[in-house]
């Protein structure tokens, strides 16, 4: 009896985890995949075919026979989607790089701060989450617009003669992305840097490394896992970001999130919107999978 209970306990964890994944990732994924292979229709739901549950096996067969890759062909043929994908990747890559450059010194300073201040610093990093993301992005409009705080401050200081047209430009999207995702870069980096044994830096210095040399040869490589985690946490959601390009970006910052939104709500083309969603998933999942593979091989190689 106790052996059975023990066995149940061992099985419960994986079952729960896989059950969760199946219910909230596997199933929706299958549904979106199916819709992306369907055709749009003026109906409810707005696509065909729809599974006929009554028809049994034949219903499934009819469903599968009616599915095709037409939407994906559209994605490849129409340069709009490729442009949007490239813009998304460029914004995500550029934003992530900028976040790393800005976030690293912040995380480093936090990890080097006196122990008793560190919980406060972490809390301050998280405080913005207490306000709605939407409101915070709207606030940037007030800062960046033609007669906004930034332009007025720069004019008052005499640094510029004319207001800068930052709002509705790629620069504004970059500002918004860096602002919104900074905690996701800083916190994993901080965790990695905070764990770092300061004795290692002293050992490097003792063995002849300058401050910069010790940083490059010890601190940086040992904080790399934190940097990679932060980069993934930023890169993946930025690729699909909708609110920031929609509110701060202009007509020239067409990102996948906005394309998806307009296909879904303006055109009511669920199948094409689903295809865009699938393409986006592939776009962000592929680098992650490749990275994990490389990492696994690296670990295996080591004796």
């Amino acid at each position: 009896m106790t052996a059975l209970a023990e066995r149940l306990r061992q099985v419960a964890g994986p079952v729960l985890a896989f059950g969760w994944l199946a219910a909230f990732f596997g199933l929706p994924f299958a549904i979106v995949l199916k819709i992306s292979l369907s055709d749009p229709a003026t109906a409810l739901p707005p696509y065909t075919p729809v599974l006929d549950w009554e028809a049994g096996i034949a219903g499934w067969a009819n469903l599968l026979a009616a599915l095709d890759f037409e939407n994906y062909r559209t994605l490849v043929r129409d340069p709009l989607y490729l442009d949007a994908a490239l813009t998304s990747l460029a914004v995500a890559a550029g934003g992530t790089a900028l976040l790393a450059v800005i976030g690293y010194p912040i995380a480093y300073a936090m990890a080097r701060a006196a122990r008793r201040w560190q919980p406060l610093l972490v809390a301050l990093m998280v405080v913005p989450f207490w306000t709605s993301f939407l409101i915070r992005v709207y606030a940037w409009i007030a800062i960046l617009k033609g007669d906004g705080f930034l332009n007025r401050a720069l004019l008052a200081l005499g640094l510029i003669d004319q207001p800068l047209a930052i709002l509705n430009s790629p620069a504004a999207v970059m500002v918004g992305v860096v602002y919104a995702y900074l905690p996701f870069m800083v916190l994993p980096l901080y965790a990695a840097l905070e764990r770092l044994d300061r004795g290692l830096i002293e050992a490097a210095r003792d063995l002849g490394a300058s401050r910069l040399g010790a940083f490059l040869s010890i601190t940086l490589p040992l904080s790399l896992p934190g940097l990679v985690a932060g980069a993934l946490l930023c890169f993946i959601p930025i690729v699909g970001e909708f609110i920031i390009p929609d509110l701060l970006g202009g007509a020239d910052t067409l990102m996948l999130g906005r394309v998806l939104w307009s296909e879904f709500f303006s055109n009511r083309d669920w199948p094409l919107a689903s295809a865009v969603a699938m393409a986006m998933l592939l776009l962000v999942a592929l680098p992650v999978v490749l990275f994990r593979e490389a990492e696994a091989r690296r670990l295996e190689r080591e004796p």
């Binding site: 044994d197 004795g199 290692l200 002293e202 050992a203 490097a204 210095r205 003792d206 063995l207 002849g208 490394a209 300058s210 040399g213 040869s217 010890i218 490589p221 040992l222 080591e302 004796p303």
Partner: protein
Amino acid sequence: MTTASPASPPATGHLRFERVAKRFGAVTAVAEVSLDLAAGEFFCLLGPSGCGKSTLLRMLAGFEEPSAGRILLDGQDLAGTPPHRRPVNMMFQSYALFPHMSVAGNVAYGLRQAGMPAAERDARVAEMLRLVRMEEYAGRRPDRLSGGQRQRVALARALARRPRVLLLDEPLGALDRSLREATQGELRALQRRLGTTFVVVTHDPAEAMTLADRIGVMEGGRLVQVGRADALYERPASRFVAGLLGDATLIPGTLGAGGAGERRALDTALGRLEGFDAHGAGPEGAPGLLVLRPERLAPRPDGELPGTVLDATYLGDRVMLRVATAAGPVLRAAVPAGGAVPEPGAALRLGYAPEAAALVPEGPVSAGAPA
């Protein structure tokens, strides 16, 4: 303050501390330490945690700058020289091996910083790994090594740059007892072979006595006594040193006439006893302590210390007796095992040679932090 034993090597000016002090805000970690080490000496800083020994070591490595005083290495003042430019290397307490580098990578690190050509570097790494018998583990990561292996890699890494002085911060503290004893011998042999000046920091008196040519005992930021192990053991200058290096019975009393370097009397509750005052225990009439080492006390019919055996503990190589005296103090005496062992309750007289018992000032158990 420094009380050098007559047996200590003459000052050579290889490594000199001149009235070195270190204050952190209002806290004095090291107070006016003056010390002179000979080239090739194995020196040990001994003291409880917080006594300033690690701070002294860190000042030598360059991680802290002295608040006052100078540290001279071969006549050159080290002040202002950053750690990476000092001809001094350190073996860290927790070894501080770089986890993302192999054993060979760790040992090569310092050589790479020095810009040594690859061929020469590889040869030196191989030589160092051979020295600590770790050749077979060159490709391993530190986390795949045992504690003893890590210690040897840390040693090889610190020695690879051929420093003029090697600093070792609690080098064997992380090893278990049996491994520690074996490693002490290896470390001693290695130091003799290389002829490098070793400065070890430890809180373990037995380790200090095993390893070092000379020991500097630190207490509350001060260097309270410097000398060879036997000098510190037989001729402690204070109650603290007497208690730190081995077991002792301390008998309080009033000092008789005499001074440093003489046999003096001490009026105690057990009567007038004699001891040797090596360092000046105080003026006549001042309170003093007689330090009686257990192995220096022996049962003798004419012994000056009468008492009653409380118990006898068999320790293999000796039997430890606890003997109660009429006036109070319980004496501990070690007698050879295998002989006749007195029964508890038996009357016994213990005697000692006055030259083998040190007289020290009656001070507090610990001097505490310096003002």
